[in-house]
Assembly symmetry: C2
Homo-oligomer: 246 residues x 2
């Protein structure tokens, strides 16, 4: 059983303020928790149903005893951020933000991404395409928001998140920066590149003109139909697909 | 003001059963409602705040009077499916499902897509790439679910939704069917095609083996990193991008 204070602590981590203060965030659900434990990440606490714990004994036996708490399903539901709690959750230590190391590889830079589902999907997409660094402007949704963690499907284990001024970062990088905008050049005609920064802006407003002025290339995925725009996660996926496979 | 019965009716439309019974669904928020009205679609009812109605008089003046109801913000919130209601909602007539007309063009076929956000994003993506028909298996989430409508961002106005057995449809079509699977051929090496059916399966389980056996090509977006899979909406976007631009 969890103490009252522990329950309160876990619930507090739905708020960015407390995640920052405690340098911790919540990872939920059978699949993601297993992946977390298998990679040997630092874990503050696990709360699992008896059933889950008995099936996954080998995974939790490695952990120091006071880390693992067996709780009833209704207790799990009370601390869960999911509509229907899924057997287990853990509190993970938030990794320190490392300085960006510039190599001849691909990076993603996000300005003012607000939807947690988009942010998580973008991290998952980066992870699929082997992009290791996602750079977020200060005004992006917090990458450790529970809905971001859910949508990222474990990519937090492999992606480095950096918070920075995107314009500054582009200058430092000495890499080409490719901005997805509404009236740019046809992305399919872009010259092949080995490395660069893929820039994506806010879901409604796109990128600021100031940031666009830092871009080396302004590109557009040509529209053939009636939709006003593409979802930010989908646009990122298409850019990754085209740019990293030329 | 809306009557008690009208309030109840609008709220009932969050459930598929009542949407089917009444052949109606809800469209919410300033941007989407404006787009709906501008295209002259059949509207059963509009509920708007006084402020919204006064700014958009020209749009609603065309409608027969008993269609438009001015309501207070708290009344709107009470019937809204959004966390924060956005000025206006309307009840739209659900279009009759038309038979699929096979032409030399691209189609999207979905098996067992469960997440409403994904379904809406796929419709929006189809709409961007000029794909007019999205064919859903019986077990897909309802395309008129409020969260689907929200994510589709108005694409319901342009996309035709068909419900059908995907295997049967592929046989009838005489078009190549391209299935996104985990261990298929490299999608970037696929031969150029003018038309076809892009097949996407369930978020967790992918497509059934039976359905895969109907595919003309089994393709994979090559993975370079650690993520186990791509989001279904992102995968659809990448397939549309590659296949419709070869």
């Amino acid at each position: 059983m969890l103490s009252k204070a522990q329950n309160k602590y876990i619930r507090s981590l739905t708020q960015q303020k407390y995640r920052k203060e405690h340098k911790a965030f919540v990872v939920e659900g059978d699949k993601m928790v297993r992946e977390w434990l298998e990679t040997g990440q630092e874990v503050q606490l696990i709360a699992a149903t008896e059933k889950w714990a008995s099936v996954h004994e080998s995974l939790i036996n490695k952990l120091p005893t006071p880390t693992v708490y067996i709780i009833k399903e209704h207790e799990l539901q009370a601390i869960s951020g999911l509509q229907t709690a899924n057997q287990v959750l853990l509190v993970a230590a938030m990794p320190d933000e490392l300085p960006i190391v510039w190599r001849k590889q691909w990076y993603i830079a996000l300005q003012d991404i607000q939807d947690p589902g988009n942010m998580g999907t973008i991290m998952r997409t980066a992870d699929w395409f082997g992009i290791r660094d996602v750079i977020c402007s200060q005004d992006c949704v917090d990458a450790y928001n529970p809905k971001v963690v859910q949508a990222a499907m474990g990519s937090h284990l492999r992606i480095q998140i950096h918070t920075a001024d995107i314009g500054e970062v582009i200058k430092q990088s000495q890499l080409p920066a490719i901005a997805a905008v509404m009236n740019g050049a046809n992305i399919y005609n872009i010259q092949p590149m080995e490395a660069g920064i893929i820039m994506i802006g806010n879901e409604g407003k796109g990128m600021t003109d100031k940031l666009i002025s830092h871009a080396t290339y302004k590109v557009t995925i040509p529209r053939k139909g009636g939709a006003e725009s593409l979802n930010a996660g989908v646009a990122t996926g298409i850019l990754c697909s085209i740019l990293t496979n030329k």
